[in-house]
């Protein structure tokens, strides 16, 4: 997993440029500002599924996280979510990724201030 962390940028500038052109700066910022809460919600959903021993639910929650983070240009977070959804086939292996997922979410939120100025607030 460390390979993903090292090679993937937190945000993909090309996708953000496309979104900016399509939505405008203000609407893009408004969308990006929803990313922290949505990402933390997905993390909690995956964790709850793990606690319940439900691998399918964990994967479904990871699928949602993969979708919106990728669409909003959060490339590294989307890759981690994708691995949980598609590559990890045991509860233990998913549980092992949760620290990395948490770290990636926080790093993404931290980096978000470069694209959405009030993200930290």
């Amino acid at each position: 997993m460390s390979a993903i962390a090292e090679t993937e940028p937190l945000f993909e500038n090309e996708q953000l440029d496309l979104l900016r052109a399509a939505l405008g700066e203000d609407d893009l910022s408004a969308m990006l500002l929803q990313l922290p809460q949505a990402a933390r919600h997905s993390f909690n959903a995956i964790q709850a599924a793990l606690d319940a021993g439900d691998l399918d639910e964990a994967r479904k929650a990871a699928h949602v996280l993969k979708g919106f983070s990728g669409s909003l240009g959060a490339a590294r977070l989307s890759s981690v979510a994708r691995e949980i959804e598609l590559d990890l086939d045991t509860l233990a292996s998913v549980a092992n990724r949760m620290p990395l997922l948490s770290a990636t979410i926080e790093a993404t939120i931290s980096d978000l201030s470069r694209y959405a100025p009030v993200a930290h607030s």
């Binding site: 440029d17 496309l18 399509a22 669409s71």
Partner: protein
Amino acid sequence: MTVNLARDAVGLAVPETADSEGIKNARILIADDDPLCRQLVGGILRAQNFKNLKFAAGGLEAMEQVRSFRPDLLLLDMQMPDMNGLDVCKQVRADPEFADVPVLIQTATVDRKKMGELFSSGASDFLSKPVTPSELIARVIIHLERWNSLRELRDYRERISRELEAARRMQFELLPAPAMLHQFAEAVGLRIASYDRSSSELGGDLWGMLPIDGSSFGIFLADFTGHGVNAALNTFRLHALIHEYRLLHSDPAGLLSMLNERLVRLLPPGQFATFLHVVVDHNEGTLRFASAGAPPMILVPGIAERAALCDASGLPLGIERGTQYRLHQCDFPPDSRLLLFSDGLSEFPDGGNRIGDDGLVKALDDCHPGLTPHQVLARLCEIAGITENKVLPDDTTIICVDRRIGAKAAGRDCVFVPDGPALSPWPTGAV
């Protein structure tokens, strides 16, 4: 409908003219269980001035919205927890009203088998995930344009159908009404039946009865070249002309000559009409007639008599100025039976084993003497192979007149029952 597209630095396709108004007002349904994705797709489309968006948080809600919102385009996420995009697509397609509506399915898959399932479920196209704005906009516009074109074509066809139906009814009004036939027949001791069917919505055949005096009346049968609107418009022209020359109704040759002079001037090259006009004098028991290239009428002059063609030659109307037509005369004694027909009968089927004029003569000879005119027409159609569910290659008109009111009713060898089913979609009646 064409939307002009301008491309900006990142390759976005942006509608920029008022021509796109129809597309911008299109109803678009976005179904995705992820609220952030719904918001993102909606935001991108709203930024492109798409004004009429609805959202569904799952497949079941999407189906409800399809029924209430009646979208012009659906954007479905492939994976939704309650009902996936493919199942929604299948259900939407099962409703004939939405059989052609564009359905775009968003998917992250590049698996060929899954893509095959996507299209076999009825999806119009797919959208890759993560969402790419330019792809989303371009595909939505392309499919809405296609949908609009399809609807415009469908609306056009429906409008034309309605107008053709109105024209068909007007043309039908030109034909003798059953009440009028009955009045004629009852007054002069005749029985008359007719069969008229067009090969398309509108036909180029026209027939009618023309009151002359207390002892005679006229029957005419015209057949214009071609079918459809042109031929039908010509029947309206001819109908007006015939009634303009009321004084010539008793003079078949004179009427044809006058109609010819008018039609030569009115009809474009290549269009003409065959025309037969018969004056029936029921007091004297004679037929006076003239023909402009029409199929010969067939006369059976009595119960025990043989049928015979009443040949009469003449150039069709509308071909050459100054054409003079010959007047012919023959007896029409009691118990006679007379058949007028357009070539749609004698030349049916097109290119196949046609009954022909001689075949019709034989068929009339084979008809039981006691058949009513209506039954004679049914018998002839049966022998010629004309049935209600067969498409006619040519407009077809058949008229049977007889002087057999007192004749014995059809015997047990008759294949028809009296008062059988109607022959024609517009039976003008057997009296």
